[in-house]
């Protein structure tokens, strides 16, 4: 690790400008998010690019992505705890902070997608028990609580190995449930053949493992670079080795689904598939396969490449972007594939528009603004968590 210049422990306190600049970025992001959301709340979702055909868009992609990200941390902690490995122990606190942040941000990201956020309390007073959305609300709440309890246990001055083990046994099945239920929101819909497949839940879990672990790696590296925090150098390579497996399984599951759909040669399956392979989503799909899967996999799998930490971090960043693209590739073919598609199509829902049948969905600045706000919210939570729980306290050192 000689290539990484180690900053002196007091570097951050001596030079406050980078930190203040970071806070300014976070603050600006939060303001932009709040402004965009306020504007959208006042005008209605008509200021988004959504229509009556593509009723779910960027917000739902971000929601799926954030739920996925939240897997990494808790599974890294719980998984290594249950197999009795202590190699990644030094990452525990950071991993739990990343997980908790991601799931909190996921819960926040669903709010701007609602037509009437002020009525969201109806989900609590009048829940409809058959709805996967109600299950998801419940399991996300439980997952958030688990992350908070884990963080509390990990940050006690005294070790609590038994409690940690119990939490590991609880959190693994809950983590599996969070991703499965989020997948089932889509997978249960007979109206959307592209989503209505049993592989969706396993696929969500495998993508979650990729993006979650990759984000822990990237954030661990950033925190290591900008603060005095020193994880054991082997953790990056360890995470890289894990990622090789996760990416391979994720790619296998995706291929299994697409090949099965392709060989069926029925319009029912082929219409959404062609959109991915050769249609309007092809650029996203193929760059996801090339840059989001193949290139990072080579870096993770080849020990000589994996050993070069900046390269590894670059690969992990590509993995994260790749999983985001994959969320787009899962959501959009389902949305673009109406089952009754005769002319003139579906009412657009805007006074100045007639019917639409195959309209391209392009998010507006409002949607991007809200998403920037959610990212800033997540960034702020991670920053607070890292400063409070990961870095050595000044008075203690």
């Amino acid at each position: 690790m000689t290539i990484i210049a180690t900053p002196s422990p007091t570097a951050s306190s001596r030079r406050p400008w980078p930190r203040l600049a970071w806070y300014a970025v976070l603050g600006a992001g939060l303001l932009l998010g709040l402004f965009s959301f306020g504007y959208q709340w006042a005008s209605g979702l008509t200021v988004t690019g959504l229509t009556n055909t593509v009723t779910w868009g960027l917000y739902i992609v971000v929601f799926m992505f954030l739920v996925g990200i939240s897997a990494g941390g808790l599974i890294v902690v719980a998984g290594s705890e249950l197999i009795g490995s202590h190699r990644l122990e030094s990452l525990n606190v950071l991993a739990v902070i990343v997980s908790g942040t991601a799931i909190a941000a996921a819960a926040v990201s669903i709010i701007p997608d609602l037509g009437r956020p002020e009525m969201a309390w109806q989900m609590i007073v009048s829940p409809q028990p058959m709805s996967p959305l109600v299950w998801d609300m419940a399991v996300i709440t439980i997952y958030l609580a688990i992350a908070a309890i884990d963080l509390w246990i990990l940050t006690r001055p005294w070790p609590m190995p038994r409690a940690l083990r119990v939490m590991a046994m609880v959190s693994l099945p809950v983590a599996v449930l969070v991703h499965s239920i989020t997948a089932w929101i889509f997978g249960f819909l007979v109206a959307r053949p592209f989503w209505n497949t049993a592989i969706l839940a396993p696929l969500f879990i495998s993508s979650a493992l990729v993006s979650g672990t990759a984000l822990v790696l990237v954030i661990a590296w950033i925190v290591h670079r900008v603060t005095a925090w020193e994880p054991p150098p082997h953790v990056f390579g360890d995470l890289g080795r894990l990622l090789a497996w996760f990416v391979a399984v994720d790619f296998f599951l995706l291929s299994a689904e697409l090949i099965t759909a392709y060989t069926s040669q029925t319009d029912y399956h082929l219409a959404p598939l062609h959109m991915l392979l050769t249609g309007r989503l092809a650029p996203v799909f193929w760059s996801q396969i090339l840059l989001g899967v193949l290139v990072p996999f080579v870096v993770y799998a080849v020990p000589r490449l994996r050993a070069r930490i900046p390269l590894l971090v670059g690969a992990a960043t590509l993995s994260i972007l790749g999983v985001f693209a994959k969320r787009v590739d899962i959501l959009m073919p389902g949305m673009y594939d109406p089952q009754v598609s005769m002319a003139p199509g579906i009412p657009a829902g805007r006074p100045d528009q007639g019917f639409i049948i195959d309209e391209l969905y392009v998010p507006t600045w409002v949607e991007y603004g809200v998403v920037v706000g959610i990212a800033a919210f997540a960034g702020a939570l991670i920053t607070i968590g890292v400063r409070r729980y990961v870095l050595p306290r000044p008075e203690q050192s």
Binding site: G44, G115, Q122, L133, V190, A348, G349
Partner: protein
């Protein structure tokens, strides 16, 4: 012949031919001009009605009357339709052609199918979408949070969302039901407010080709059940297992220009 009441003469005299029919009084239908109430009464109903509709695609002439009347009846905003007529072809004015190059005359009037096993109802997180005692799938706008899960779940694409405040063409008066607020999902209610007054839905009444038959599926004597017995009735996207209460009669002969 002479003994039949002369409805036309009564109407011309400005009297209400349905005046002596039992009325709940003070209802929305009271605003209707007498002509609207003179016909379109529900033929017969059982103790526990289960409402259904049959669309005869052989009779449909693709005129969009039902779609337009539906809009004014239900105060459906600009850019929204609860009921629309799909054309077999590339666009409204470019129908598909047969082997001889003749334009086909086939249409599919499409609105909520009022499924017995409604996918929209199953996914609604707040039970805003529900099926009432008479089998009609409805949306309670007061409970709707606008998550649009029902729209993703509906295979027929008949639900529309109020993306902003509902907009109206200038000079258009209000419909027979209150408008829905921004941020909520809405769809065909089978004119539940008219059924309460023993009136058929406005799309049925307004169809100049009489392509729609409305009635009680639980009443053996109802017209809809007679036709269903005689000619059957296809379900749209039957393989989805939604069991719609709206059925379609296929054309018995080819129609082309």
């Amino acid at each position: 012949m002479r003994d039949e009441p002369d409805v036309l003469a009564t109407l011309l005299a400005g009297q209400d031919p349905a005046a002596d029919a039992p009325s709940a009084g003070g209802s929305a239908v009271d605003h209707l001009p007498p002509a609207s109430r003179a016909w379109g009464e529900i033929d017969t109903r059982s103790q526990t009605p289960r409402w259904g509709m049959l669309v005869d695609t052989e009779r449909c002439i693709g005129c969009w009357s039902c779609a337009v009347v539906c809009k004014s009846e239900n105060d459906v905003a600009l850019g929204m339709w609860w009921n629309r007529i799909l054309t077999d072809g590339d666009d409204l004015d470019t129908p598909s052609v047969d082997a001889h190059g003749h334009p086909q005359m086939e249409w599919l009037p499409l609105a909520c199918q009022h499924c017995d096993d409604a996918p929209c109802e199953k996914v609604c997180p707040t039970a805003a979408t529900y099926t009432n005692d008479e089998g009609i799938v409805l949306v309670d706008a007061d409970k709707c949070i606008g998550c649009r899960y029902c729209m993703a779940a509906c295979p027929y694409g008949v639900r529309v969302f109020n993306w902003g405040e509902p907009a109206k063409a200038p000079g258009v008066e209000e419909g027979m039901v209150p408008a829905r607020p921004a941020g909520t999902v809405e769809k065909c209610s089978l004119c539940v407010h008219r059924i309460a007054e023993n009136q058929q839905p406005s799309c049925v009444v307004s169809c100049p080709a009489q392509a729609r038959i409305f009635g009680d599926l639980n009443d053996d004597d109802s017209h809809i059940n007679q036709v269903l017995r005689d000619r059957g009735g296809d379900q749209l996207l039957e393989q989805k297992g939604t069991q719609p209460k709206v059925r379609y009669l296929p054309p018995r002969r080819r129609r082309s220009l």
